[in-house]
Subunit: 425 residues, 2 copies
């Protein structure tokens, strides 16, 4: 039976979960996977973390050199997070010919070129299932399950924190601030929630997933990004009335105009499979030319679900000797001259505050008309102080057309656009 | 670049779809998968089928010997269906050292032992993603995505025909007969629909999926099976009122009592992710000890979705040289002394027709009490002719307890149990 030595860098939430799964399941993997996986080394400066997992002291390495020089280490698992130490250690491992399994979406999204080059040079594996959507094996599915398809789009709820907040706002009428506070209390949001609520986390993941789906490097910096911090209870309620659920969607599409990648709050029709993905659950919806629509649903994060993804990569690395670094199976042919769309098509939800006087609606309609925007439905409501509120949903139109129309309406004195949200039907 | 020659046996719906995908995507796979896949041979007796796909005449083989003796054939794709010819041809291919990709669930469910032995003896690959749930890459996910988990249960809507019929009965109030007729008209049901509506098709697939999930051979004959032919509009409606949607579920569980595998109509709570899987869509819901709940959703059948699964296996076989026959990675250790449960726990829905006289309810309650069955909710309705109808849902209890209670109630003269359906909440 093949014996595989694993080193885990960092025993935080994910590294600790991985350690637990590997040690508790060792006999199970011997039986079912025909491989004996032993954690032979850990790098963790917090003695209490290592002790709480009962890591034998002789397995605790002092520094990364000790790990990468250890001949009993075949696979290095990086669960440190962030860039500086993580990048240095991953490169050290790859340069020593060790295969690397990482859960670090930021590292992978920003530096995959460099990591892949090192992996290739040293014939090492580089695996990153755990970097995107914890318990949902979407990367393996794109690489080995749907690889026969030309993928035209993927759409996902790929950040648990924001989905928890939006679920609370939708189901319990909470404000953004109250829902964020509760997410923090439950450990779903970090003390500084910027990366989640501003969409950075989702954008890192989308850059990785879109690269795989479209067989070309999709730089993180090309991802259009809008967070959830400005969403109001009013929008959530209006959307519900119209039959929509508000989600932070990551969308990747391949159209004739090029590749578009964007992360933004989106109204999803109530009967769409993504609409019922609630709380900290995540899901990715893929459309391929042969397979049609496929959705994968599961826990987006957490110690054991993300640990499950890491262990899946470890076993895969241990049992598939001819799969090495793995973003592209054919680097030379991965498309280089790819366009990124700077405009895109979507339906839109708009909420306007208007003066309650005759002729206003005609003026607004005229602005939409000039920008070739047509309306699917509209609700008008009286407000106090001679103001009315108009909520409307458009047919598919250009983002740039909406921007023009909003600017034009805001430049009048009769109406203000309070919210603009994209709609997927 | 690696060159792979593929032979397709049978150019029906699935074989034809596979042929189309492979020929149309050849350049795409060269670019993205670094492999040149050519259909070098087809075995199809219908000249018109071959012609409609524009298969070059020189590629049409006369018999299986010609296919398996062809040195340009590396992988044989079996899309014939049924047992006799399919089994003979698959064995011939394996015995010639060709890897086999099959969409044949009946063949695989009934004869996987024999096929695996042949594959092992000749160091050939044996792949069967397309045998279960067409466009949903559930087999690859169990083997390579969730393989780090001890799986406690899987539950699936894995037959498109019955799901289409039940969706029509639920959403449009159709009778079983009317819905079946429409399914036939649309090509979702075959002229003889027995295999689908009596649950054989789902049972074949469940035997394959449960074998993978529980790492032991789960014989088809161990699957408890109940079809949808006796379902009434009344049950569908009563269930809806109680907040349930009726689905044909395939359920595999590993409990202390052993492995249980069963296919039967089941009421699923409306907010369960499986409840909204409608029409010909399929989904499989898996629970693993690390990953928690995961669901895969997609098209269950059809020319291109099933073709997508076959092509996925072909590319996998072509690019993973150390993966061969693949039900178990460790045959010697696959558990042999496994128990199969002959009883199981479930919640139940019962519809009773009762005499509208005093004391009846007390007598029924007493039967339930004696069998340790407790009731969650109950609706009583007046019917004509001195009869009333009672609909109730129980807490989790033993199937055997329900059987005893039903027998006891039916032996009285005051009540008849009209329907018994299992419930998943």
């Amino acid at each position: 039976m093949k014996k595989i030595g694993v080193a885990i860098l960092g025993l935080g939430v994910v590294g600790g979960g991985t350690y637990r799964i590997l040690t508790e399941h060792r006999e199970f993997y011997r039986k079912t996977q025909n491989v004996d996986i032993e954690v032979t080394s850990v790098l963790e400066t917090s003695r209490s973390r290592a002790e709480s997992l009962a890591v034998p002291p002789e397995k605790i390495a002092v520094n990364i050199a000790e790990v990468v020089c250890n001949p009993d280490v075949n696979i290095v698992v990086e669960c440190i997070g962030g860039i500086s130490a993580a990048k240095e250690y991953v490169l050290a491992a790859l340069n020593a010919g060790k295969s690397v399994v990482t859960s670090n979406k930021e590292l992978y999204a920003k530096f995959s070129h460099e990591l892949e080059r090192a992996a290739k040079r040293h014939n090492a594996g580089l695996f990153f299932e755990a970097s995107c959507v914890g318990g949902v094996p979407i990367i393996r599915t794109l690489l080995d399950g749907l690889q026969g398809n030309k993928i035209s789009s993927l759409m996902g709820i790929i950040n648990g924190t924001t989905n928890y907040i939006l679920t609370k706002m939708t189901n319990e009428g909470m404000s953004y601030e109250a829902a964020l506070a509760e997410a923090k209390k439950l450990g779903y949001a970090e003390a500084d929630p910027t990366s989640d609520v501003e969409g950075f986390d989702a954008a890192y993941k989308l850059s990785i997933l879109a690269s795989l789906a479209f067989h070309t490097k999709v730089p993180f910096t090309n991802v259009f990004r809008e967070g959830i911090t400005n969403l109001s209870k009013e929008d959530v309620e209006d959307g519900k009335q119209l039959g929509y659920t508000l989600k932070l969607l990551a969308i990747g599409k391949r159209t004739d105009a090029g590749i578009e990648v964007r992360v933004h709050p989106t109204f999803v029709r109530k009967d769409h499979p993504l609409a019922s993905v609630a709380d900290a659950f995540n899901a990715v919806f893929v459309e391929g030319d042969a397979v049609g629509e496929v959705m994968l649903y599961g826990r987006g994060a957490g110690s054991l679900p993300t640990g499950s993804a890491i262990v899946s990569d470890i076993i895969y690395a241990a049992t598939h000797s001819d799969v090495k670094y793995s973003t592209f199976k054919n680097d030379a042919e991965a498309e280089k001259d790819v366009n990124f769309a700077d405009d895109f098509m979507s339906a839109y939800y708009l909420r306007l505050s208007v003066s309650d006087e005759s002729g206003v609606l005609a003026k607004i309609a005229s602005v939409f008309g000039k920008n070739h925007i047509s309306i699917v439905e509209m609700i008008q409501r009286e407000k106090e102080g001679g103001k009315a509120s108009i909520v409307l949903v458009t047919h598919e139109t250009h983002e740039l057309a909406i921007k023009n129309a909003v600017e034009k309406i805001n430049s009048t004195e009769i109406a203000t656009v309070e919210s603009v949200l994209r709609v997927v039907s």
